[in-house]
C-alpha cells in the first residue's frame, strides 16, 4: 500500500504540500508523485536509512535532564517541505528589510536614541529591558551592524502568508541542522535530486566566514577568526563544532583565550599566544566577561569587553544586540521599519498585544483562554501560556503574573500554524504543524539562506516545535514554480 493522498486531511489548516484532497500544490507536485510510487515498506526502509545515517553522521543535540545530559539523535522526518521560489523571494526581501531596520535600531539605541526622542518607541523599552547593556553605549561596530547572525522564526497562518513570530538576535542556533538535513535527504531520497531546481543550501558556512572576515578590526589578509563555545555540554555544541570545521577556523572555549595588557585577545596555542581578530561567540552576553557581567562565569574571558570596547576584537553578535530581541520591541518592528527605511514592511508581524498598555492588557485578561501569552525575554518555548490548551488554574496564574509585571508579557492570537505531511508510523503520513527558521547574515552584505530550518511538532495537534520539547525537523526545499 502506498500513500493515499485523497485520505490525507489537514483538517482545515494550510498545508504546505497538499492544496486539496489528492491534489498537490504546484511546487510540491514532483515530490508527491514520487512519494506515491513508494509503498509502505519502501517508505519505512527509507525512514530507517535516515535514522541510521543520523546515527553515523553523529548528528545530535543535548538534552538537559536531572539525571545528567543526554545526547540524543536528531529527530528528522524524511518528507521534505517545499516552498515555491517566487513566494520565498518575497519572504527573503522582507527579512533583509527587517534586519537592516533592526540593526539601525540597535545602533540608534546605543548612540543617539533618536527614535525615542522622536516618540516612535517609548523610553521604557530600554529602561526596563533585560537585554539593554549600558556597557555598550557609544559603541560603533563596523557597518553599524550589531546582529550579524539572525535566525528569524516564521510561521504560515491559515491564509498561507508568512508572518514573523520572533527575531532571534542573540545566539540563534539550528543552521547546522538545516545543512545536515539536506545531506541526509540527499542520501535517503537521492532520486529526487535529479531535478535540478532545488536550491542549494551548502554555501552558508562560506557566507558566514565572509561575514566574519568583513568585521575584522585589523585589516590583515587572514584575520584570525574563532568560534567561542561554552563547551561540550552545551545543547548546541554539535553545531559549534560543525561550523568551526566548515569554516576552517578554531573552535575555542573561554579558557583558551586570554586578554593581554595591550587590550588584545589572544589564544593559547602550541607556539605561544596568537592574536584573535573576530570571535563568533555562542555564549550569552551575561557569560562573556566575568569582569563585567556574571562574576562567577567560567565560560567567558576576563577582559573581553575591555578588548571589544577598545576596538581590538570584533564580537558577533555584538554584546547588547539582544535588546531588539525583546518581544515588546517586536511589537514595534513595523514602526521601526517605517521610521528608519521609510518603507512599508514586506513581511508582517503576528498581531501582538502589549500588556503594559492598559487597554490591551484588559483585552488580554478577558481572552486568556484564546491567546498565547509569552514572557518578553525567554526563548526555547519556555514560560508560555497556550490559552486554548490551558486550565483555569494556569490562566489565573498568568493573570496574576501579567498584573505584577505587565512590561514582561505580550499576548498573541493562537495561530493556525500550517501543516505538512509527516511520516508518523510505518508508511503512514499525517499532517503535523511546523514553522521555519531562515538565517540572515549581515555585515557589509546581507545574505538569506535558501529556506532555512523547518521544525515540526511531531505530536498530533501540538504546536510546540522546539527540539527540547518533542519537536523534529524536515529538509526545506525552495523550488521553482508557484502554487
Amino acid at each position: 500500500m502506498s500513500i493515499d493522498w485523497k485520505q490525507y486531511d489537514p483538517n482545515g489548516f494550510f498545508d504546505e504540500l497538499i492544496a486539496s484532497p489528492g491534489e498537490a500544490r504546484h511546487p510540491a507536485g514532483p515530490l508527491i508523485d514520487y512519494l506515491s510510487e513508494l509503498d509502505a515498506k519502501e517508505l519505512e526502509a527509507r525512514r530507517q536509512m535516515a535514522e541510521a545515517t543520523i546515527q553515523e553522521m553523529g548528528v545530535s543535540f543535548t538534552v538537559y535532564t536531572e539525571g545528567g545530559n543526554i545526547d540524543r539523535a536528531w529527530p528528522f522526518d524524511i518528507v521534505p517541505r517545499v516552498i515555491g521560489a517566487k513566494q520565498w523571494k518575497r519572504a527573503e526581501q522582507g527579512l533583509r528589510q527587517r534586519l537592516k531596520a533592526l540593526n539601525m535600531f540597535i545602533d540608534d539605541l546605543y548612540n543617539d536614541q533618536q527614535i525615542i526622542k522622536d516618540g516612535v518607541v517609548p523610553a521604557h523599552i530600554i529602561e526596563k529591558s533585560k537585554n539593554f547593556r549600558r556597557e555598550c553605549i557609544g559603541m560603533k561596530p563596523a557597518y553599524g551592524v550589531w546582529a550579524h547572525i539572525c535566525g528569524t522564526d516564521l510561521v504560515r497562518d491559515g491564509d498561507g502568508e508568512f508572518y514573523v513570530l520572533e527575531d532571534n538576535l542573540r545566539v540563534p542556533s539550528g543552521v547546522s541542522y538545516m545543512l545536515e538535513n539536506r545531506a541526509i535527504t540527499k542520501r535517503v531520497l537521492p532520486e529526487l535530486f535529479e531535478r535540478k531546481d532545488i536550491k542549494p543550501v551548502h554555501n552558508y558556512p562560506a557566507r558566514l566566514f565572509d561575514t566574519l572576515v568583513a568585521i575584522s578590526p585589523r585589516r590583515v589578509k587572514r584575520p584570525e577568526i574563532v568560534v567561542l563555545t561554552p563547551g561540550i555540554y552545551n545543547s548546541a555544541y554539535f553545531e559549534h563544532a560543525f561550523l568551526a570545521q566548515q569554516m576552517g577556523v578554531e573552535l575555542v572555549e573561554g579558557s583558551d583565550l586570554v586578554v593581554g595588557d595591550d587590550d588584545c585577545v589572544y589564544m593559547r596555542t602550541i607556539a605561544g599566544r596568537e592574536r584573535v581578530d573576530v570571535i563568533y561567540r555562542r555564549i550569552d552576553d551575561m557569560f562573556l566577561d566575568p569582569d563585567v557581567f556574571h562574576k562567577d562565569s567560567v565560560l567567558g574571558v576576563p577582559g573581553l569587553m575591555r578588548a571589544w570596547r577598545a576596538g581590538n576584537v570584533a564580537l558577533a553578535n555584538a554584546p547588547g544586540a539582544g535588546v531588539a530581541d525583546d518581544k515588546v520591541v517586536y511589537a514595534y518592528v513595523p514602526e521601526i521599519i517605517r521610521y528608519y527605511l521609510n518603507e512599508k514592511p514586506r513581511i508582517a508581524n503576528v498581531k501582538t498585544y502589549l500588556c503594559d498598555d492598559p487597554e490591551q492588557q484588559a483585552y488580554v485578561l478577558d481572552h486568556l483562554d484564546e491567546l498565547v501569552v509569552k514572557p518578553a525575554n525567554e526563548s526555547g518555548g519556555y514560560g508560555m501560556l497556550i490559552g486554548p490548551h490551558s486550565t483555569k488554574k494556569e490562566q489565573a496564574q498568568f493573570a496574576r503574573l501579567i498584573k505584577e509585571n505587565p512590561r514582561n508579557y505580550i499576548a498573541q492570537p493562537t495561530l493556525s500554524l500550517s501543516t505538512a505531511p509527516t511520516l508518523v508510523s510505518k508508511g503512514k503520513v499525517e499532517p503535523r504543524h511546523l514553522d521555519l527558521r531562515p538565517f540572515i547574515l549581515q555585515a557589509k552584505d546581507t545574505y538569506v539562506t535558501n529556506g532555512g530550518l523547518t521544525r515540526v511538532a511531531l505530536r498530533k495537534g501540538s504546536l510546540v516545535v522546539n527540539s527540547s520539547q518533542g519537536g523534529g525537523s524536515k529538509d526545506t526545499w525552495i523550488v521553482n514554480g508557484e502554487e
Binding site: 561540550i232 563544532a241 578554531e250 573552535l251 593581554g260 596555542t269 602550541i270
Partner: protein, 314 residues
C-alpha cells in the same frame, strides 16, 4: 593550533592505536592457545598482566578464566583501558576536534563505536570472536588510512603521529616483556621448546611475522625477535622506527627541540640493548626503563605544548 586541540589529537591517536592493539592482541591469543601443548600454562590472565591491570581485575572478578579476561579486556567500562573504553575516549576526542580532522573520520569512528557496542557479545563469545575483532581492526585501519590519505602534514598531523608512535612503542615493549615472562615461566615448567610459539605470538601481536621473515631470513628465535622489534630501522612498529618517526614529528613543531634530547637518549638505550639472553634480568630492566622514559616523554609533551603559555609581559 590551540594547545587543547593538540592534546586531544594526541590522545585521539593514542586511543585509536590502543583499540587496534587490544583487538589484535585478543585475536592473536585466541589463536595461540590452540597451538600450545596442554601442559603449558599460558593463560588468558597474561593479557591482564600485560596491561598492568591485575588490581582492577581482582576487584571485579574472582575467576581468571577466558570469559572474564576477555570481557575485562574488551568490554568492561570500569576498565579504563578496555577496548570499548578506549573507543569511547577516542570518539570523545574526535568529537571535540572535528574542526581539524577530515569530516569522515567522525562518521567512521561513530560507526565503529555503534558496531562495537552492538556486537560486543560476539567478542566475548568464542564463535564469532575472530570476525568481530577483525572488523574492529579493519575499521581502525580505515580511519588511519583516511587521515593518512587526506590530512595536510601540519601540526594536527604531527600530534596524531606522536600519539600513535608513543602508544605503539609502549605496546611493543609490553609485548616483549610478556614474552620474556612467558619464556621464563615456560622453561621452569617444562623442557619443551616453546620459544617458537611464544615469540611467534609476540610477532603476530605486532603484525610483524611476515616482515620478520623477510628481513631476518631466519627461524624464530627469542634474540632475533627482540632485535627486530627493538631495532629494525624499516618496520613501522619497531621501537626504533617509532621513536625515529616521533623525533621527526616533534622537529616539525614549534619548541620541538625541548624534547628531542629525551628521544635521542631513548634511541641510544635501545641501540645498545643486549638481546642475547631475554630471560636475563638486564633485558627486563631495560624494558622497564624504556617504559619509564616513555612516561617522562609524555609529561614533557604536556609541558611543551598542551599547557603552553607565555608569562604575561610585565
Amino acid at each position: 593550533m590551540l594547545s587543547k586541540v593538540a592534546e586531544r589529537l594526541y590522545w585521539t591517536s593514542r586511543y585509536l592505536e590502543r583499540v587496534e592493539n587490544t583487538a589484535r592482541l585478543v585475536s592473536v591469543y585466541d589463536n595461540l592457545l590452540f597451538d600450545l601443548p596442554r601442559e603449558i600454562d599460558i593463560s588468558w590472565y597474561n593479557l591482564v598482566e600485560l596491561n598492568g591491570a591485575q588490581a582492577l581485575f581482582e576487584e571485579r572478578y574472582r575467576v581468571r578464566d577466558e570469559r572474564n579476561v576477555v570481557k575485562f579486556t574488551l568490554a568492561d567500562d570500569t576498565n579504563p583501558s578496555s577496548m570499548l573504553s578506549s573507543l569511547m575516549l577516542a570518539r570523545e576526542n574526535v568529537r571535540t576536534t572535528r574542526d581539524v580532522l577530515p569530516p569522515d573520520s567522525w562518521e567512521l569512528i561513530n560507526e565503529l563505536r555503534i558496531f562495537a557496542a552492538a556486537n560486543i557479545h560476539n567478542g566475548i563469545n568464542r564463535s564469532a570472536r575472530y570476525e568481530f575483532l577483525d572488523h574492529v581492526i579493519k575499521s581502525c585501519q580505515q580511519i588511519n588510512g583516511l587521515m593518512n590519505g587526506t590530512m595536510s602534514r601540519d601540526a594536527s598531523w604531527q600530534f596524531l603521529r606522536i600519539g600513535r608512535n608513543l602508544e605503539r612503542v609502549d605496546m611493543v615493549t609490553r609485548l616483549l616483556d610478556a614474552g620474556a615472562v612467558a619464556q621464563i615461566q615456560g622453561e621452569a615448567e617444562t623442557n619443551m621448546a616453546i620459544s617458537q610459539v611464544i615469540w611467534g605470538n609476540v610477532l603476530r601481536s605486532s603484525s610483524a611475522d611476515l616482515s620478520y621473515r623477510r628481513t631476518m631470513r631466519s627461524a624464530i628465535t627469542a634474540s632475533d625477535v627482540a632485535d627486530f622489534l627493538l631495532r629494525d630501522p624499516e618496520f613501522p612498529r619497531s621501537v626504533r622506527f617509532g621513536l625515529g618517526d616521533m623525533r621527526h614529528a616533534v622537529t616539525r613543531l614549534p619548541h620541538g627541540k625541548a624534547v628531542t634530547g629525551q628521544i635521542d637518549r631513548l634511541l641510544k638505550a635501545v641501540e645498545n640493548a643486549d638481546v642475547s639472553d631475554l630471560a636475563a634480568v638486564g633485558f627486563r630492566d631495560l624494558l622497564n626503563e624504556v617504559q619509564l622514559d616513555l612516561i617522562d616523554l609524555h609529561q614533557s609533551f604536556g609541558e611543551t605544548w598542551f599547557s603552553y603559555d607565555e608569562p604575561e609581559v610585565a
